[in-house]
């Protein structure tokens, strides 16, 4: 039998997980950037309005972040080109990172992530995302995600509670 015009299947489950993961990362970044001094320090490297795009190729799930004042904002899709673009080469890569089955630095060394823009700024972004992930994930999960898991103080534990509540709901 010869088949033509075969349309590839879409993974509804993985797409949904990545969508939820991007939501959590977007809100988590907004929230963490409002109170974490290390993250605020990293943001000084970027000018006001610096635009970041994380996207999954080829399906196109996107996460847009922008520096606004001393914090980050999760914004909707933009028509202009981002200053820094991080592309997960496929849905599977994004899914594994979001579910802690893999992590950003492993994906990078396996060449499953592409970076468009200034590589030095991507290092700033990696450090920012590490800070955000240390709040989003409890320690038993973040050890799979981060090269070095920080020891949280009482105030940082409170910060984690903030991220899990008002952070994920409102980005505060």
């Amino acid at each position: 039998m010869i088949k033509t015009e075969v349309i590839s299947k879409k993974s509804i489950f993985k797409n949904a997980v990545v969508a939820v993961g991007f939501y959590a990362l977007g809100r988590g970044t907004e929230s963490t950037s409002k109170f974490n001094s290390n993250l605020k320090g990293e943001l000084k490297a970027w000018e006001e309005g610096y635009l970041i795009l994380l996207k999954v190729a080829p399906s196109g799930k996107e996460l847009w972040l922008q520096k606004s004042g001393e914090s980050m904002k999760w914004i909707g899709k933009q028509s202009k080109e981002a200053d820094l673009i991080v592309v997960f080469k496929n849905l599977d890569t994004a899914f594994k990172i979001i579910t802690t089955l893999s992590n950003v630095h492993t994906a990078f060394v396996q060449n499953r992530i592409m970076v468009y823009g200034d590589v030095s700024q991507s290092m700033v972004l990696i450090r920012i995302l590490n800070i955000v992930q240390s709040y989003l994930f409890p320690p038993f999960l973040s050890k799979h995600v981060l090269k070095r898991v920080p020891k949280f103080s009482f105030a940082q534990h409170m910060g984690r509670i903030r991220v899990y509540t008002t952070g994920l709901l409102f980005g505060y």
């Binding site: 492993t106 060394v109 060449n111 592409m114 970076v115 200034d118 590589v119 991507s122 290092m123 700033v124």
Partner: protein
Amino acid sequence: MFPKYFEFFNSVKINAGENALEGLPSELNRLNVSKPFIITDEGIVKVGLLDIVLSGFNDSDIVIGAIYDKVPPDSSIEVVNEAARIYKEQNCDCIIAVGGGSVIDSAKGMNIVISENTNDIVKFAGHDRIKNFQQPLIVIPTTSGTGSEVTLVAVVADKQKDKKMLFTSSKLLPSVAVIDPRMTMSLPPVLTAATGMDALTHAIEAYTCLQKNPISDAYAYSAIKTVSENLINVIEDGKDAQGRLELAVASTSAGIAFSNSMVGAVHAIGHTVGAIAHIHHGMAMSILLPHVMEYNQNTVGNLYAKLLLPLAGAEVYSSTPKEERSQASINFIKEMNKQINTICGMSITLKNAGVSEEKLQEIANKSLNDGAMVVNPVDLNTDDVMSVLKKAY
């Protein structure tokens, strides 16, 4: 540990050995090109190396379209654009780069400008942004260190913004690398030492960093063995043609290794030391290598232990207790540095190399933004980099 997934790619044809340059007309014919653009620097012309390259075209029909010798120590957008303009004006159809890292980066940079038909190379900075296949590029390295003849990386400086742009793409790999020992015979002892230690660092970092894979390991291991066996001899006797060739091939092997498995903290810190304190890249590698290895030792000491065999040889390896081999590898490199210092005076501390202590904090802060930090096996923050710098000082 065998990686769960890796990628390896190297498409460069390597012609290495006696009279390799005489094969140039035949390579051009194979690539179906006939009007090369030669890019080099004034130093290469001055010491007569370009004349040796041109002699490779004797008795052929090849007409050199243009010779551009104005590449400065660091490649820049201005140089790349000017070279590309002349290339197009002269209707050249291939590029021959004769020189070290800066010349080779300039060649790759002008290739991007030509092949993407652009006047804004900045748009292509980053990873895998180059879409069009490049003009045929033949590289004739004149140092035994950078390995740029087999890497998919180019670094071009944006002087207006005072920053270096990194371009990585498999499309940047040259078509041919021509390794002829005549090209490095006139390299002075200090430069031989510095570029040789650069090659050794490439190989050791490629073997021990997170992106390592079994294929790049094979190239790295071979490079480490060959550099260890030949570097001191060639520094002492620059006329050792066989030694020069082996070092050049080791540098190429190390280049293939790190092009596929990246380098780590030695390069991340070393790039920044070079940018801020303006010391030779190879010298910075040599000074920093043992100290970064000591920092990484708790995590990858097993790999450093394996490297004692290619570094020091079978007798030393077998007579060293297993638990001492990692430190023995580090000590071997420290001893090598001391030997090199005795023979040719190359500095073995940052202080001796002219780095002022006030600059160390700035170096520590900025080195975290070097992409190579991602693949170092151990995470470093500013304090960690400072501790390495202080030990190297």
